[in-house]
């Protein structure tokens, strides 16, 4: 009866894909939405410009957890350049549910965090272990 909490969303929430730390990540970033207290750490293992491995840890609401689960599935095996081109709408498409303005930050935290991880990781360069809050605008 509830649009947001479809079975597959709850399924991803209960058993998220790609949950956990990975070995020797080339990029790591901790994103936070201080307004809900959600925190997510994204780790990427990039080889030859392709996201070979990806893992995330952290806590959050069903929407942010499901979006991280779906997003990590989506980017695994993708060239970095394509990942950097992903937009909010792409994440919303992955989720396949209607997100109200108040929950938008929950839905997009994982994408923000992935893209911060990539931005902080100079292409082909080292892997600075960034831990900084991803920009969270307002919770509206």
């Amino acid at each position: 009866m509830d649009d947001l909490y479809r079975d597959y969303i709850l399924e991803h929430y209960r058993r998220p894909h790609n949950f956990g730390v990975i070995d020797a990540p080339t990029a790591t970033y901790e994103g936070a939405n201080p307004l809900c207290g959600d925190r997510i750490t994204m780790q990427l293992g990039v080889t030859n410009g392709v996201v070979e491995r990806v893992g995330f840890t952290g806590r959050g609401c069903a929407i942010s957890q499901a979006s991280a689960s779906l997003l990590t599935d989506e980017i695994k095996g993708k060239p970095l350049v394509e990942v950097t081109k992903l937009r909010v709408d792409d994440v919303l498409d992955l989720l396949g549910i209607e997100i109200s303005p108040a929950r938008l930050k929950c839905a997009t935290l994982s994408l923000d965090t992935v893209q911060h991880a990539i931005a902080d990781d100079p292409p082909g360069g080292g892997a600075p272990n960034a831990t900084r809050a991803a920009a969270a605008e307002t919770d509206a």
């Binding site: 009866m1 509830d2 947001l4 909490y5 307004l35 809900c36 207290g37 069903a62």
Partner: protein
């Protein structure tokens, strides 16, 4: 000044909503138009009153009548609407001052909200009185409105902040407070009632301790004025800030009360029309209080609505309001743990030390999800940090859900919450 009467609740009239010395919340509910609406096919169960209250017909109509019948700027026009508008505005001031038993209505300044009231003190009193090394004592349970302005102030003036810690139950550690007072703070600022835990702080005792140590006291009354009888004189407060919109009044209304001597000694805050006596190109003389602190065109209709709200609450009787909300709180604290398996509740257990605020979590379910699912049943609760991030840090909680009451809240609302929470559990555990 003769203040003629504007429409509103008749002085001292007994409302049908008070019967046999107790509130009839069901009758009251009928006076709040929004509560007869439907949300997603359900009756409205509004449990976010600590964030803002709903407004009774008397308040909505006072605002409406202002615009339809006598809208004009105040203190300026020598014409019918201008005189009525000024009258209504100043009469609202008298009404609100009386509601908190201020000794003198000129000590009451209209502001947009509690936040502006506190900032006014931080800017005007603070910049004149806080210097290098001067301390301000706050508590760990403050709303950001009673924390951030002081952070900004002490950063600018090189002062210090000290914090009274809380117990795990959410009570202030008065023993530590006593020690903190030894640093001879210039100001102690704390909330009368916690918006997150509901804790009713022992104001009078804390004021006496502060005064004995030579400090002034600012009380954040945003969660007190709507819910418990407040008498600024018997509390012994120096500054008392509160919001109108949490006490049934329009958005955009709030007030600061302070003792006359303090206000008179304070430099102005905002500059402009109304707050001046005489202006020359390079210097100005300022007006008397309260107008010295009310620059520019005020939110007249909102102030008039605040007056109507104070009158409405006075009609109900704040003792009755408090009793009603304590009863609801006791009922909620009884029924929630019994009916909602695993629910975690926070805050003081003693209902005599606590206002109608019930923070909780369902284990394994994020409060955002809780709120979102409850919305489907027409139930509005708040989820997040409730503008008390440091308190949440202290309690090691990322976020909480919160149900909070007002005069129109009923046991049915709590029963609906219980049923809704069980639905949440079914969805997430199913």
């Amino acid at each position: 000044m003769t203040l003629t009467s504007e429409p509103g609740v008749a002085d001292g009239a007994v409302l049908p909503a008070v019967r046999a010395g107790a509130l009839d919340a069901y009758a009251i509910r009928d006076e709040f138009p929004i509560l007869s609406r439907e949300v997603h096919g359900h009756r409205v169960v509004y449990l976010d009153s600590a964030s803002t209250s709903q407004k009774p017909r008397a308040v909505i109509e006072a605002v409406d009548a202002f615009y339809r019948e006598y809208n004009a700027n105040v203190h300026r026009g020598i014409y019918e609407f201008g005189e009525r508008s000024t009258n209504a505005y100043e009469r609202a001031r008298v009404e609100v001052a009386r509601f908190i038993n201020a000794p003198d209505s000129h000590e009451l300044i209209f502001t947009r909200n509690a936040t502006e009231a506190i900032n006014l003190v931080a800017y005007s009193w603070g910049r004149r009185n806080i210097g290098r090394g001067d301390a301000i004592v706050l508590t760990e349970m403050e709303h950001h409105a009673n924390l951030v302005p002081w952070q900004i102030l002490v950063q600018e003036r090189d002062g210090d902040l000290e914090f009274i810690p809380i117990t795990d139950d959410g009570l202030l550690r008065l023993d530590v407070y006593e020690v903190l007072l030894r640093v001879k703070p210039k100001l102690v600022a704390f909330t009368h009632v916690s918006n997150t835990l509901g804790t009713i702080n022992p104001v009078r005792e804390m004021v006496d301790m502060a005064h004995a140590a030579g400090a002034l006291v600012l009380i954040d009354g945003a969660q007190a004025v709507p819910h418990v009888p407040v008498d600024v004189q018997s509390l012994g407060a120096d500054f008392y800030a509160f919001s109108g919109h949490k006490m049934l009044a329009p958005m955009g209304s709030g007030a600061l009360w302070a003792r006359r001597e303090l206000l008179e000694a304070m430099p102005p805050f905002l500059g402009g029309g109304e707050m001046i006596r005489e202006v020359h190109l390079r210097r100005s003389d300022f007006n008397d209080i309260p107008w010295k602190f009310e620059a520019g065109t005020p939110a007249v209709a909102d102030a008039v609505g605040l007056g109507a709200a104070a009158q409405y609450l006075r009609g109900l009787g704040m003792d009755h309001v408090r009793d009603h909300e304590r009863d609801l709180l006791a009922y909620a604290l009884d029924v929630l743990p019994r009916e909602v398996p695993g629910i975690e509740l926070y805050g003081p257990l003693d209902v005599d030390q606590r206002g109608g605020v019930v923070p909780f979590n369902l284990p394994g379910i994020h409060p955002h999800d809780v709120a979102q699912v409850l919305d489907r049943f027409g139930i509005a609760v708040r989820a997040g940090h409730h503008c008390t991030m440091p308190l949440h840090e202290r309690l090691e909680l990322a976020a909480t859900a919160r149900a909070s009451f007002n005069v129109y809240s009923t046991r049915d609302d709590i029963d609906a919450l219980v049923a809704g929470l069980r639905q949440v559990q079914t969805i997430f555990e199913g």
